[in-house]
Symmetry: C2
DNA sequence: GTCTATAAGATGATAGAC
DNA sequence: GTCTATCATCTTATAGAC
């Protein structure tokens, strides 16, 4: 689907603001100053703040889906594939110490509109489903080794990755993410 | 140190609000309604919202310190000690799906006063230091097994626990915390 | 599509009476 | 210590001109 320039810019800047300050930590005014547009104009594109949040998560979910397809197509080894997947998070943090938007919104769940919460859960589902599939393939190829179901391990791994991002954010240190991610990966390798 | 009744009540209710909605998701008005006191009265006890946050983290740090002492004294086996430590997080979540306050504030760091951020980092340091000590003892007793320094593993483990809480909060499911925590623990056991 | 103007409520904080 | 009253500011959102 084609999205107008302004609409896309709003989503891009809103993403950064949420990753840095959270949904409750940014306002239409912050957005308007970053973009150089009045708050009323933002409301033209997104009726409410909740609508903006929903559109934002839908957009990043679609982008993640495309990236998953790309990883599956371009990288044969499930181990390398997983490493490359980890880079999404690392790059996010390296780009101004941003948090994963899904994890950020997850912690703010109790203050968000229900439809946005639902979208955030779909975000988790997407990642966990891809991880599950990748882990399963890797186990079949003897690249990974684990006892529980791939679905459960995927959940644990994704949770751990979110925690690694949180820890990195707490101190502003990428190294915290890297060390944790490496540890998790080594636990899974055969 | 002795803390007046009202002051203690404010801290107790503020803790719940932050664990549920985050620092930016709660207001003095929310607090005042829960406690049955006017917002002006809260300002008598804590000059600013930041001061309230700082006092709150200092209080829970002190309580955690007491609990660490208690665990070290009462539970001989490092494995059991760690399991019991995990219960802090489990109970927190089971009590109304609350997030760990340290992890919540960590993600809001970029919107918090500097002194509060420093306090949050001390909170992380406290937990990681105790975990490091416990892991080291456990390794000496062949209860745990790991290659890296106990300090690094402690960081990875604490990050993973925060992630497990985040994941549980995302879906409102304790099981997500339990499954992740069990997995982490099994990775460490000899 | 974007603007000005404005509404209506929330928010952190203070002054001064009781 | 707690209250009423009040403040300045911020926040989401709308109406209507351009």
């Amino acid at each position: 689907m084609k999205i107008s320039n302004t609409k896309a810019t709003i989503l891009t800047e809103a993403l950064e603001l949420i990753q840095l300050k959270g949904y409750n930590g940014f306002s239409f005014h912050h957005l308007s100053e970053k973009i150089g547009i009045k708050t009323a104009s933002i409301h033209y594109h997104f009726a409410t703040k909740g609508d903006l949040g929903i559109a934002l998560v839908q957009k990043i979910r679609a982008e993640a889906g495309d990236y998953f397809t790309q990883l599956d197509r371009d990288i044969a080894d499930p181990g390398k594939r997983l490493e490359k997947y980890f880079n999404i998070f690392r790059s996010t943090f390296e780009n101004g110490h941003r948090m994963c938007v899904g994890g950020m919104l997850a912690l703010e769940s109790k203050t968000l509109p229900a439809e946005l919460v639902a979208e955030v859960r779909c975000y988790f589902d997407d990642h966990e489903a891809w991880l599950s599939k990748t882990l399963q393939i890797g186990r079949k190829q003897k690249v990974f080794s684990f006892n529980k179901s791939s679905r459960e391990v995927a959940r644990n791994l994704f949770a751990a990755l979110e925690g690694a991002m949180l820890s990195a954010c707490a101190f502003g240190e990428v190294e915290r993410f890297n060390a944790a991610a490496t540890w998790y990966l080594n636990q899974l390798r055969s």
